[in-house]
C-alpha cells in the first residue's frame, strides 16, 4: 500500500467498530451439577478498517473464535456494542438479520466439515444465492461456475463432490460460496491452518486479488503469523479474552508493546532466523 492510499483509507470511517464486548459461557462439568463460567471475551475493543486485512492472533483458547462468532452474529454477546457500517448490530432481530447476513460472511477452518458432501461443488456455491432468492434456474448454475472460476477452480469440476477436492481446493470453494452474496466483510476463522505453506500462500494471494475486485474487508484469525504476517495491514493480538495489542503490521512487528506479543513473535522469528542462519552458513 502506498502512503497516499494509506491516508485515503485511514480517512474513511472504520467498517466495524467493537466496543466493550463481553461474552460468558456457563458450562456444567461432566457427571456433576457444579457449574463453571468461562469469560471468553472481556471488554474487547476492535476496529476494522475498510478494505484492509486485519490478522487476529492468539494462542488456542484466547477467545478469537468467540469474537468471530459474535461478529458473524452466530453468537449473541452478553454486553457491549458491535457497529457495522454505522449500525449497531449486536441486538438485531431476525428480520434485520436478513439484510445483514449477506454482508458478513465466514469461512471456517475445516472446510471438509463445513461443505455438504451430498452436494456438488456448484450446488454448494449456488445455495446462498438460492436461499436469498438472488438467482434461479439456469443463471444460478452459470453464476456458480463464474464464482468457481473467480477463485481459481475450473468450471469443469462443477459436478464433483467436495470430497474429491484437496484441502486447498475445498478452501477455495468455501471462499467462492462466501463471495456469492457479495459481502463487505469476510471472516476467515483459522482458514489457513492445516494447509501446507504453498497452499497457504496461494490462498493469501487469492485473497489479495479478490480484495480489489470485490472491495472486501478481511478479519483473518490465525495462530501462526509467519505467512499471514506478511500480508496483513493490521495485527490484533488476543490473550485471555482481551485484545492486548492492536496496530499496523509495521508497528506491531517493529515495536511490540506487550510481553505477550513479544513472546508470540519470538517463537515465529526464532524458527525463521534459524533457517536464515543455516542458509547463510551453508553459502559461506
Amino acid at each position: 500500500m502506498t502512503a497516499e492510499q494509506a491516508t485515503k483509507r485511514a480517512a474513511r470511517p472504520a467498517l466495524v467498530r467493537v466496543k466493550g464486548l463481553h461474552k460468558r459461557y456457563v458450562q456444567r462439568r461432566a457427571f456433576s451439577r457444579s457449574r463453571f463460567v468461562v469469560d471468553a471475551l472481556r471488554n474487547v475493543d476492535l476496529e476494522l478498517q475498510p478494505e484492509c486485512l486485519t490478522a487476529l492472533v492468539g494462542a488456542s483458547g484466547s477467545g478469537k473464535s468467540t469474537l468471530a462468532s459474535c461478529l458473524a452474529m452466530l453468537e449473541k454477546p452478553d454486553g457491549g456494542e458491535i457497529w457495522f457500517e454505522g449500525r449497531e448490530i449486536s441486538r438485531c432481530d431476525a428480520r434485520e438479520l436478513i439484510w445483514l447476513r449477506p454482508r458478513i460472511q465466514m469461512v471456517f477452518q475445516d472446510s471438509a466439515g463445513a461443505l455438504n458432501p451430498f452436494f456438488s461443488a456448484a450446488q454448494i456455491v449456488a445455495e446462498p444465492l438460492e436461499v436469498q432468492r438472488r438467482e434461479s434456474g439456469r443463471t444460478l448454475h452459470q453464476r456458480a461456475c463464474e464464482l468457481m472460476e473467480e477463485v481459481g477452480l475450473s468450471a469443469d469440476w462443477a459436478d464433483r463432490s467436495p470430497l474429491e477436492f484437496s484441502g486447498g481446493q475445498r478452501q477455495r470453494l468455501a471462499i467462492a460460496r462466501a463471495l456469492a452474496l457479495q459481502p463487505t466483510l469476510l471472516i476467515l476463522d483459522e482458514s489457513l491452518s492445516g494447509l501446507d505453506l504453498v497452499t497457504q500462500a496461494q490462498i493469501l494471494n487469492l485473497l489479495a486479488d479478490i480484495r480489489v475486485t470485490h472491495s472486501l474487508t478481511y478479519l483473518l484469525i490465525t495462530h501462526d503469523l509467519s505467512l499471514v504476517g506478511q500480508m496483513a495491514d493490521y495485527i490484533a493480538v488476543m490473550h485471555q479474552g482481551s485484545i492486548v495489542e492492536h496496530g499496523t503490521r509495521q508497528r506491531v512487528f517493529g515495536s511490540p508493546q506487550q510481553a505477550h506479543t513479544r513472546k508470540l513473535l519470538a517463537a515465529t522469528q526464532d524458527l525463521e532466523s534459524a533457517f536464515r542462519a543455516a542458509q547463510a552458513e551453508a553459502r559461506t
Partner: protein
C-alpha cells in the same frame, strides 16, 4: 525382490539403519487407474541421523511413513524393499512385524488426540506399549512410564499419568504421543507432521523435545513436514519429495544453502521473512509455486514437476530425469539443476 549389499553404501560412511529401495506403493481407486502414491522411491538413513522429509500435502509423505512401519491399508499394492538393520521388512509376517513396530520403529501421528484412546488413562496407554514388548513388573512399569514422561518435559508426571486425553492440552497430548513412541527406546522414530495445527510456541517446545531425544539417546528421527523452517538446525539431511519420489537429497546445509531442484527453491522462497525491517508492500503477492500437485492417477512420461516449473525445457515433458550427483552427498533429479 532385489537384495542390496548394505552398510558401506550408506551416506558419509556412517553405519546404515534404514534403506528404502525402489519402493512403489499404489492404491486401487474404483473406476480409475490406481493412485501411484510412491514411485520407485530410494532413501537411506544412518544410525542416530535426523532426516527431514519435505513436501506438499499429497506427495506421498504419509504413505512413506506408513510403509516403513508396515501399516498400509490392505488394498495397497507394494513393491520394492525396506531394509531395517539389515532385515527385510517387506513381506515379513505380521507376527514378526509386531515385534519391531513400537519397539524398534515407532510412529508419532499427526493428530495424537485422535490416535489415543479416549477411555483409557494416558499413563496406561504408554505402559501398554512397554507391556507389549518387555516383561516388567507392574510397579516398575509405572515408574518407567513416569520417568519417560519427565524425559519429554512433562514435569507433573503423576497428574499426566492419571489423566484422560480430553483433560490434556494439545501440547501435552503431543508429548504423551512422543512418550509413547519412545517407551521402548526405538532406533527410529517416524514423526509424521507432529507439529501441525499447534501454536508456534508449542511447536518450538515439541521440536526441542525431539532434538533432546536425538542427542541424549541417539534415536534416529524421520521428520515429515511441509515447513522448511522447522528443519533448520535440526535435520542432518533433507529429502525433498514430489509426486511420490525423492527429487533432491542432501545434507541440511547443502539443501538450504544451495538448493538445486526448482521445487526446493520454490519451497524455500516461501519461508517467511517477518523479521525483515523493510516490509513488502501490502497487496503484493507471496512467491507461491503456481498450480497444485499432479494427479497421481495419470502421470505421463515426463518430469512430474514440469507443469509447474519455471526453468523447464523441451526434454522435461518427454523424459523423466535420472538422479544426478552434482556434488558429493547432494543428489537431485532435474535436467536444469545448474541453471
Amino acid at each position: 525382490m532385489k537384495s542390496i549389499p548394505f552398510g558401506a553404501s550408506s551416506f558419509d560412511g556412517v553405519p546404515g539403519l534404514l534403506r528404502v529401495c525402489q519402493l512403489s506403493v499404489s492404491y486401487a481407486s474404483r473406476g480409475h487407474s490406481p493412485v501411484r502414491a510412491l514411485r520407485q522411491l530410494d532413501l537411506e538413513m544412518a544410525k542416530g541421523e535426523v532426516v527431514g522429509i519435505l513436501g506438499e500435502s499429497g506427495c506421498g509423505k504419509s504413505t512413506l511413513a506408513r510403509s516403513i512401519i508396515g501399516l498400509l491399508p490392505a488394498d495397497a499394492r507394494v513393491d520394492g524393499s525396506i531394509l531395517f538393520r539389515n532385515e527385510e521388512l517387506m513381506g515379513l509376517p505380521e507376527k514378526q512385524l509386531r515385534r519391531i513396530r513400537g519397539a524398534k520403529i515407532s510412529l508419532v501421528h499427526q493428530e495424537p488426540g485422535l490416535a489415543l484412546s479416549p477411555v483409557m488413562r494416558v499413563g496406561d496407554q504408554i505402559a501398554e506399549v512397554i507391556r507389549a514388548h518387555r516383561s516388567l513388573a507392574r510397579k516398575t512399569r509405572k515408574l518407567e512410564v513416569e520417568s519417560i514422561l519427565r524425559e519429554v518435559r512433562l514435569a507433573d508426571s503423576g497428574r499426566i499419568y492419571a489423566a484422560y486425553p480430553h483433560q490434556l492440552s494439545g501440547g501435552e497430548l503431543h508429548r504423551v504421543a512422543i512418550a509413547q513412541a519412545l517407551a521402548c527406546r526405538p532406533d527410529l522414530i517416524i514423526a509424521d507432521e507432529p507439529t501441525r495445527s499447534l501454536d508456534v510456541t508449542v511447536q518450538a517446545e515439541i521440536l526441542g523435545v525431539l532434538r533432546n531425544l536425538n542427542q541424549a539417546f541417539g534415536t534416529a528421527i524421520l521428520f515429515i513436514t511441509h515447513n522448511p523452517a522447522l528443519l533448520a538446525g535440526f535435520a542432518d539431511r533433507i529429502a525433498v519429495m514430489y509426486a511420490g519420489r525423492v527429487v533432491e537429497n542432501g545434507g541440511g546445509s547443502k539443501v538450504f544453502g544451495r538448493p538445486l531442484h526448482p521445487y526446493t527453491k520454490g519451497l524455500l522462497d516461501l519461508v517467511p521473512r517477518s523479521t525483515r525491517t523493510e516490509y513488502s508492500a501490502a497487496g503484493s503477492h507471496l512467491p507461491a509455486i503456481p498450480g497444485g500437485p499432479p494427479d497421481l492417477k495419470s502421470l505421463n512420461h515426463g518430469c512430474a514437476f514440469e507443469p509447474r516449473c519455471a526453468p523447464k525445457t523441451e526434454i522435461c515433458r518427454i523424459e523423466n530425469p535420472e538422479e544426478l550427483t552434482p556434488e558429493a552427498g547432494h543428489r537431485v533429479s532435474c535436467f536444469n539443476h545448474d541453471r
